[in-house]
Assembly symmetry: C2
Homo-oligomer: 341 residues x 2
């Protein structure tokens, strides 16, 4: 049995209240007594019992709001993580409100944040739309001591306490490293992005192209194409480019559109010959990976992106734990058909 605050109190010849004041620097205590108590606690290896502390802390009404963007398979993973964390912290007496917004809309994001605040949330985790007004809202919340955690894509320079999500630039580099390893000499490479305005996509493409050019001088990189997350579009692009250039050896997708690419490759009888590397471990993508139509998929721990922010906010609000890291980059996992879970 671990040592309790009562044992410290007995050893120091004081009461539990005094021990509490000493160890938690609550003031209203004789400095010498405080010092002695702290010394004894250290000597006896005292560690406060989590359960006891949690029980009394559960009197604080903690309500955490989570805002997740429109339904995509990836956001589904984020949702699962958030729900798991919700279950856990609710067993500690807290409350979690999860809102899924319908469109990737700035107004919706801001309105939902306001709604959650009015519902009494004292902490918010949000997958933000990239916009100046969202930044302002985050800063306004911070001013009211409502901590905000950004998920998946950061609002740089805002007063959010931290960001949990992938390092998109590095994600592009990982893809480039793989492409460099598997491509035959003098191949041409096609890059397909989503929306030109999307920052994650922009960063992935930058990381990919810079790294590929730097480590494989023989490779010729085509100008980036935009498929707007649409499979028919990515199919058209793939077909068009493959007809124009017969030496394309690899395709990198920084966003959705794998299905279109695979369809195009199949129809042209080039499956497997043209290497495909893409992001996101969606069920559909995994299926293409298993079938050998895609060589590598890069994952970004969606589950953790939902789970962690809720836990971070809970620990801050419940225990007062401050977050040491401003950025938590989720791991970029490399998946082949063999290590798919």
């Amino acid at each position: 049995m671990a040592v309790t605050s009562q044992q410290i109190a007995d050893a120091a010849g004081v009461s539990r209240g005094t021990v509490d004041r000493a160890l938690n620097n609550r003031g209203r205590i004789n400095p010498e007594v405080a010092e002695r108590v702290r010394r004894i606690a250290k000597e006896m290896g005292y560690q406060p019992n989590r359960a006891g502390r949690a029980l009394v802390m559960s009197r604080r009404a903690i309500k955490i709001g989570v805002i997740i963007q429109p339904k995509t398979p990836f956001m589904g993973k984020v949702m699962e993580g958030a729900i798991e964390a919700k279950k856990e912290v609710e067993q500690m007496g807290a409350e979690v409100l999860i809102r899924e917004i319908e469109s990737m809309d700035v107004d919706q994001t801001i309105n939902t944040m306001q709604e959650l605040k009015e519902a009494g949330c004292n902490g918010i985790a949000v997958v933000p739309a990239e916009d100046e007004r969202v930044r302002n809202t985050i800063d306004a919340f911070a001013a009211e001591h409502i901590p905000v955690v950004t998920i998946n894509c950061d609002i740089q320079g805002s007063k959010r306490i931290c960001f949990i999500g992938p390092d998109a630039l590095q994600g592009g580099r990982v893809a480039a490293g793989l492409m460099a390893e598997i491509l035959p000499k003098d191949s041409r490479v096609l890059m397909i992005s989503g929306y030109p305005t999307n920052n994650s996509n922009k960063n992935r493409i930058s990381g990919f192209s810079e790294e590929l050019v730097s480590c494989r001088e023989d490779i010729k990189l085509l100008d980036v194409q935009y498929a707007f997350e649409d499979d028919r579009m990515s199919e058209m692009i793939t077909k068009g480019m493959l007809k124009e250039y017969d030496d394309i050896g690899g395709i990198y997708l920084s966003a959705s559109g794998v299905q279109g690419v695979c369809k195009a490759l199949e129809e042209l009888g080039m499956t497997g010959r043209v290497k495909v590397i893409s992001n996101d471990l969606t069920d559909q993508n995994k299926q293409f990976l298993r079938e050998g139509k895609v060589q590598f998929l890069l994952g970004q721990e969606g589950h953790r992106q939902g789970y962690e922010p809720v836990q971070i906010l809970f620990n801050k609000l419940f225990y007062g734990n401050e977050r040491e890291a401003e950025f938590t980059y989720t791991e970029i996992s490399i998946k082949t058909k063999y290590n798919l879970v």
Copy 2:
């Protein structure tokens, strides 16, 4: 604030004791009352408060023993995980004893298990030596209701409650998949194992060779070589084989010895030309990966292999949670120099 057992009691017009008996099937209760209480609890969405439960459960004296094999960088990770879990469960009033045994010896393993039992441990997590006597000891502990969890390598057919570790066969297949993707046509491949008797190594080599042969018919596989986890040995093997065969395009290491391989390649001026895939994310291996001397490293979540078993045993002993899964295979992560954490 979440709903409490008192609220259920009030709603059902009974006492907290009765609610407790009903929800935890403790018997000594009128079945109809029990049914009604359960219904009301469900309706009100009752979830027992973890902190409250933990506090009262902390009266149970829980002592968990962990046995970790001799110091290797990988076992260091396992140790870190075990220490993290130790800290967490000790904050819940439990106690954790960690023993690092000096050699991978059967007698040492068994003796340490006995020692931990005599020290009052009511649950054991162990990285077992593969031997019949270890199996018998595990079964004896099970008979005395001391649950045992095997870590990293399983004792199949023993009465351990579960196994946490890698799927070695699949690990070999992952390596094969990568090798198949990066090797030029008609290459020869060298496989270097550790000890011929080690099961993990045996399985990795099987998985690797079977998969590589099945997906790349052009590749010629050399007979497996044993380096006994020794760098000078792996260096000698590499040099010898490279001199004998000039078409070796890839080397797969199922155990330690990367340094020797890299040294041999450098001296022969073949770094980068001969692709190297190995296991274990040791600091040294990571350095070789960063320098481009190794193309891929496969990791097996050592931290989790130390952390999880302690938590599993704690949850079983503390809350009575039964483990649903007999096998928990840790993820086989693929690391290049770009996604190294």
